[in-house]
């Protein structure tokens, strides 16, 4: 099914959506530079090209709706309003990082903004989202749990397990399949028996449909409807977003597999460029206002980068802090070892 046409957000919100998309784009570009300069380690997965999917989703939710994501999740945290300084500091592994330098790029969390984290095992966070939905229903609260994962994750068995339980128990959850058409370097047609993924959820009696993931307003409308089903009708929903990432799987992927022609085709549909056209066309922003917003966002990213670079490293003495919420005995490290 297809939801009814969306109410277009008011101008203030349209501007805010565009600013957040721009912030994500610029933040990711800067993260890429910091990685190339050797200041960010490990894996770095950029969401450039997926800004509409992220911001369209988050803008349709209530701030207290628990959100979970994959390891490509800087944008989700930014869209939820997390401090760009704390995110960049986490990427640089500093004590001021949003997770104290323990998580890094793949494991951001801001529980105060109901962002319940980015997870590194493909498909592994989906049952956690089901549990967050379970908790909302258990407490008779009206939050909707929303979990974003890729079409690659949809091939993991545990995701089907979650579709089944959500359908069986009518849990207030929205499964958001961000189909960027590649699982690392493997295209959908070489990984999936059927190239549409939303029918898998439909097989478990979950209302599901597919929308253009490059169009922020279409994403927002779909997620509004999905969240409404979950919140008001207490039924799960599944939305598949067709999108494209403009960079390789991670910074260590030179992206030589995908055809240049294909990339160019999708870049012509750049979610920022197309949404900018809408804003200009509707007279919501003019070129000067856009330039001013971009400059403001660049300032935010500059400030976050400076803050991160200047932040202290995590003291090694704190290495073992926090393994347990409730450490035992008189050993704050919670270690089992007796040291002489």
């Amino acid at each position: 099914m297809s939801p009814s046409p969306p109410p277009v957000p008011p101008p203030d919100e349209m501007r805010e959506i565009f600013r957040t998309m721009t912030l994500i784009r610029r933040f990711e570009e800067r993260a890429s530079e910091e990685y190339m300069a050797g200041r960010i380690g490990g894996f770095l997965h950029l969401a450039i090209g997926e800004e509409a999917a992220i911001v369209g989703t988050v803008s349709a939710l209530r701030p207290d709706d628990p959100l979970t994501s994959t390891y490509r999740e800087h944008g989700q945290a930014l869209a939820r309003g997390s401090d760009p300084r704390a995110i960049m500091a986490e990427l640089l592994g500093r004590s001021t990082g949003i997770c104290g330098g323990r998580g890094g790029s793949m494991h951001l969390m801001d529980v105060g903004r109901a962002f319940y984290g980015g997870y590194g095992i493909v498909g592994g966070a989906v049952p956690l989202a089901l549990g967050l939905a379970w908790a909302a229903r258990y407490r008779e609260a009206d939050q909707v749990s929303v979990t974003m994962f890729g079409e690659g994750a949809a091939n993991q068995g545990v995701v089907s397990e979650c579709f089944n339980m959500a359908g069986l128990w009518d849990l207030p959850i929205v499964f958001l399949i961000l189909n960027n058409q590649y699982g690392m370097g493997t295209p959908v047609e070489r990984a999936a028996a059927v190239e549409d993924f939303y029918p898998r959820a439909a097989a478990y009696d979950i209302e599901s449909w597919k929308v253009d993931g490059m169009d922020v307003l279409a994403v927002r409308a779909a997620l509004s409807e999905a969240a409404r089903l979950a919140r008001e009708e207490r039924r799960p929903a599944c939305v598949e977003l067709l999108a494209y990432r403009y960079r390789g799987h991670s910074m260590s992927d030179p992206d030589t597999v995908r055809a240049a022609e294909e990339k160019e085709r999708w870049k012509a549909r750049d979610p920022l460029v197309t949404f900018e056209r809408v804003l200009l066309g509707e007279g919501i922003m003019d070129a000067d206002a856009i330039a001013a917003m971009q400059a403001e966002v660049d300032g935010v990213v500059d400030d976050a980068t400076t803050f991160a670079r200047e932040s202290a490293e995590v003291p090694v003495a704190e290495l073992a802090d926090g393994v347990y919420a409730q450490p035992w005995n008189d050993d704050p490290r919670g270690s089992a070892l007796v040291r002489p």
């Binding site: 549990g131 379970w134 007796v338």
Partner: protein, 333 residues
């Protein structure tokens, strides 16, 4: 309750702990396969669906990874799920959730959320269930920082450790033993909690320390009886939890007896006995009069045939031999 305390089985002790904690705290709920209408594969959850209803005693599909992960997510939101995995053998399909999520979330996200959940499951061999249904995987869980691991041997511990586990703010793996559900003994009352990280001396002795947990405590006690008949007084110590491990109590005993044997139903390689022995070597090297003995299940997949299975799992005679070996003695019978 009109029954004598002595009459409580390990199974009923667990049931009491679940019931009391559910009455005490509305955020506690149970989830697992066939735990409600069927009342549990081992009848541990008997009567709980009738008392607490389907919202809090939840029968799941056969989907261990899914419902274990669901429990983790619910715990992140502040509920206190008690997940029953029918047997430890089926935990293997949920290991990603246990190891990559439950144990990591508090640390990896800088302490923003904890995972106050319990995953309880029975394990062990001895029922001719062959290779896929006879695992003792205690070492796998004890290997993982971020988990706590309790291994009750008696009804009292089964109740007291589970109550502590449910109130704990971290993910706790409670490993029960299929072979102990019918074991009877006294249990504590509603307020009797057994703290983690406190080993208990099951039988005092001066000649050799036997470290054993779960069902192996009873094997060790039977061995200690046989040894006593030969004039050897073994001290049997039950660690009760492996994370945390009460090394102080173990080491104190070994420094006194100068000899140690570790008994573990799991496999020998990189197992519980190996880990405990390493701790004891580090802590007690100068006191030891003999190499530390290990008694494990044979290093094979568990066979079906009764005689082979019995030969594969630790028996009192194996423990007797291992203890006498630390004294450079042979079995005299």
């Amino acid at each position: 309750m009109s029954t004598e305390p002595k009459d409580t089985t390990y199974r009923d002790a667990i049931n009491q702990a679940l019931r009391e904690e559910m009455l005490r705290d509305e955020s506690v709920f149970l989830m697992g396969e066939d735990i409600g209408h069927f009342e549990g594969a081992f009848k541990v959850t008997k009567g709980l669906l009738a008392e607490f209803g389907e919202a809090r005693v939840v029968d799941t599909p056969i989907t261990e990874a899914g419902f274990t992960g669901l429990g983790i997510g619910a715990a992140m939101a502040g509920l206190r799920p008690v997940i029953e995995i029918m047997t430890v053998n089926f935990a293997l399909v949920a290991m990603d959730q246990i190891v990559s999520n439950a144990s990591k979330i508090h640390y990896m996200f800088g302490g923003q959320v904890s995972v106050p959940m319990v995953i309880r499951m029975p394990g062990g061999a001895g029922h001719q269930l062959s290779a896929q249904h006879s695992h003792s995987l205690d070492a796998m869980f004890a290997h993982v920082p971020g988990l706590k691991v309790a291994v009750p041997a008696t009804p009292e511990d089964a109740k007291g450790l589970l109550k502590t586990a449910i109130r704990d703010d971290d993910p706790v793996i409670v490993l029960e033993s299929e072979g102990l559900y019918g074991k009877k003994g006294p249990v504590g009352g509603e307020d009797h909690l057994i703290p983690f990280g406190q080993a208990v001396v099951r039988r005092p002795g001066r000649d050799c320390t036997i470290v054993a947990h779960s069902r192996m405590v009873w094997v060790a006690l039977a061995a200690a009886e046989q040894l006593a008949a030969q004039g050897v007084e073994a001290e049997v110590i039950d660690p009760r939890t492996f994370r945390p491990l009460d090394l102080d109590t173990l080491a104190e005993s070994v420094r006194r007896t100068s000899r140690a044997v570790v008994v573990d139903e799991g496999w020998p390689e990189c197992g519980i006995a190996a880990g405990v022995a390493a701790h004891l070597y580090e802590a007690c090297f100068d006191w030891l009069d003999a190499p530390i003995g290990r008694v494990n299940s044979a290093d094979v997949p568990m066979p079906y045939a009764k005689n082979l299975e019995q030969a594969a799992i630790p028996q009192p005679d194996d423990v007797v031999r291992a203890v006498l070996a630390t004294m450079a003695r042979e079995v005299t019978r």
